[in-house]
């Protein structure tokens, strides 16, 4: 299936959000996630199914003012 990952079209067979993070090599990086504009807490990633057309955002700390 195709999803949008941080704004780019990607192919994945990951069934859940935690598996998607593994596929795209996030490892133990400190990140926060949202699917279709809704925040998904770290402990809930395994319960959130990924569906065709989903928009997934994976964010990390960055400089800010």
């Amino acid at each position: 299936m195709n999803i949008q990952l941080n704004g780019e079209v990607c192919q994945t067979e990951a069934k859940t959000l935690d598996l998607l993070l593994v596929q795209f090599e996030y490892g133990d990086a400190v990140v926060a996630t949202a699917v279709n504009g809704e925040f998904v807490a770290e402990q809930q990633r395994g319960a959130v199914e990924i569906c065709d057309g989903d928009a997934v955002e994976i964010l990390a700390p960055m400089q800010g003012g």
Partner: protein, 258 residues
């Protein structure tokens, strides 16, 4: 007396941004020399291969300052609320500098969206630092929905103009005498920061004025000193202004030499 920020007493009134520095080393130097008590941080998309945000976060943790995540770049209530939740999980703090931008040229806060987002986040346990204007009614609404700190702008973000509306800011300070107030954005010089503190504001938050200076670390130190000087001046109870001159040297005993 320095007012507390959601029960937290800061060592000083300087909050410093972490963006736009020439290098991470210069950023760290600026923080060390300024003595800033708070660092503002943000969130951006992370690539699984680069993991660019991880090194930055480790460096910020080494600074040993309190972090204040922002929702910079958010234009809707939903964006801001979702970003705040993501920030709380990553940075491990209930503090959030809430920005809901309503207009691009001045990056003017969308005060209606701001109040709504502040309400949602306050109900969800966040400690909200709303980036607002000096509007008294908006300030009152923000306090009513749970904010215990206000962050009025000095001038538009990145403009370096200083305190554009002195009357409005003085009125805000006078009207909400018990509320911690932070001047956020628009400062360009240490004298602007000193002026804000002299007016009785509790802190200033700035980024570009330091990061874009020819020598960021030197400018950071200058801001640190200015904040301290301004705070001391406010505590010292400044004299009243007057329109006419008043001789400071005693007239009594002056020689008659004409």
């Amino acid at each position: 007396m320095m007012r507390k920020f959601y029960g937290t007493e800061l060592s000083n009134g300087l909050m410093l941004g972490t963006a736009q520095y020439p290098s991470p080393a210069i950023l760290a130097d600026a923080f060390e020399r300024s003595g800033a008590a708070v660092a503002t941080v943000s969130l951006r998309r992370e690539s699984g291969k680069d993991k660019a945000g991880q090194d930055f976060w480790e460096m910020i943790q080494r600074l040993g300052v309190r972090v204040l995540p922002n929702t910079a770049g958010c234009h809707t209530v939903k964006e801001a609320v979702t970003t705040a939740h993501m920030a709380r999980e990553i940075f491990g703090t209930k503090w959030i500098k809430l920005e809901v931008i309503g207009e691009e040229d001045l990056l003017h806060p969308d005060v209606f969206g701001l109040v709504e987002a502040a309400r949602i986040l306050s109900e969800d346990g966040f400690e909200v630092f709303p980036y607002c204007t000096e509007d008294l009614v908006v300030a009152d609404r923000l306090l009513n929905v749970g904010c215990e700190v206000l962050m009025p702008w000095g001038a538009p973000i990145g403009s370096g103009q200083g305190l554009n509306n002195l009357f409005g800011l003085r009125a805000l300070r006078a009207h909400f005498s018990d509320v911690p107030l932070v001047i956020d954005a628009g400062l360009g010089l240490p004298s602007h920061a000193a002026q804000a503190m002299e007016l009785g504001f509790d802190a200033v938050l700035l980024n570009t004025a330091v990061a874009k200076a020819g020598s960021p670390a030197l400018m950071a130190e200058a801001f640190g000193l200015a904040v301290k000087a301004g705070q001391m001046a406010a505590l010292a109870d400044p004299m009243e202004k007057r329109d006419m001159a008043a001789p400071s040297t005693p007239v009594i005993g002056k020689a008659f030499l004409t």
